[in-house]
Every structure is written in structure tokens, then in C-alpha cells.
Symmetry: C2
């Protein structure tokens, strides 16, 4: 797994957020590629975000929320953050 | 203002988030420097985050939340995101 800055707890945070994105994507019957395209995020980056391997930025969280028809805070709440 | 990727709406998002951070910081009577030190974020970066001039990462949002004794989702909810 590519290195992300921060502690194990923080990596866990990114994993939880990625899982929240994946769960909403699947609930909408979207492929990872379709979500990436819809959000305007590179497809290879999308997979890394869902696996918690990227320290995702707020603007990308916002793009994902738009593509998933939810609010950025919904993704964090889903992730228990 | 340094360029951030995305649209005007997205910059507004970063401004709102920065304002939420500032409001919680002031409510705790913390200086910007004290918050930066407490969160382990560079002092000059801290000012840019509060002004919405940086596309803040999730791990930095999480660090700020810890330093502000709240949850990451609280910061987004405060910001109306």
C-alpha cells in the first residue's frame, strides 16, 4: 500500500472513508469507472481512494459527494468520522 | 489568492470550511499559531486553510478536528457541506 502520512488511526480514517464511498457507489449500481468519470476523478486514483490509499482532498470529497447525490458530510458520517 | 483546482463553487466550499475551523478555534480561545502547533500543521499552511486558499486533505481535516475537540464531520456540517 502506498505510504500515506499520519498514524495507523489516520490510515484507518481513509479506509473508512473509502468504504463509505464504495458503499454509496454500489447502492447506486455504479461501477468504479462510472463514478470516477462522473466525478471527474482519474480512474486509477478512484480505486486508491476507495481502498484508503490516498489522502483525499476536500475538493475530491466534494466531487464524489455530487456524483453520489449526497453531501460531503454524509460521506464522513457514513464513515463514522 | 493562490489558485486552487475546481470551480468557484468549490472555492466557496474551502472558504466555508476555513470559516468553520476559525469559528471553532476562536470559540476555544486559541490563536491560529496554537491551533497549528496543536494539530501539527505548518503555521503558514494554517492561515491558508482558514482563508480557504488550500485544498485541505482529509488527514489535515482530521488533525484539525482532534485539535478542536470535535469530529471531522462537525467541521463539514458547520460549513454547511
Amino acid at each position: 500500500m502506498p505510504r500515506v502520512s499520519g498514524t495507523t488511526d489516520k490510515n484507518h480514517l481513509l479506509v473508512s472513508l473509502g468504504e463509505a464511498v464504495r458503499a454509496r457507489r454500489k447502492a447506486l449500481n455504479l461501477s468504479q469507472e462510472a463514478l470516477a468519470d462522473h466525478a471527474g476523478i482519474d480512474r486509477s486514483h478512484m480505486g486508491k481512494i476507495e481502498r484508503g490509499e490516498r489522502n483525499v482532498t476536500m475538493l475530491n470529497v466534494a466531487k464524489l459527494a455530487v456524483a453520489l447525490s449526497c453531501r460531503p458530510s454524509d460521506l464522513l458520517l457514513d464513515a463514522g468520522l
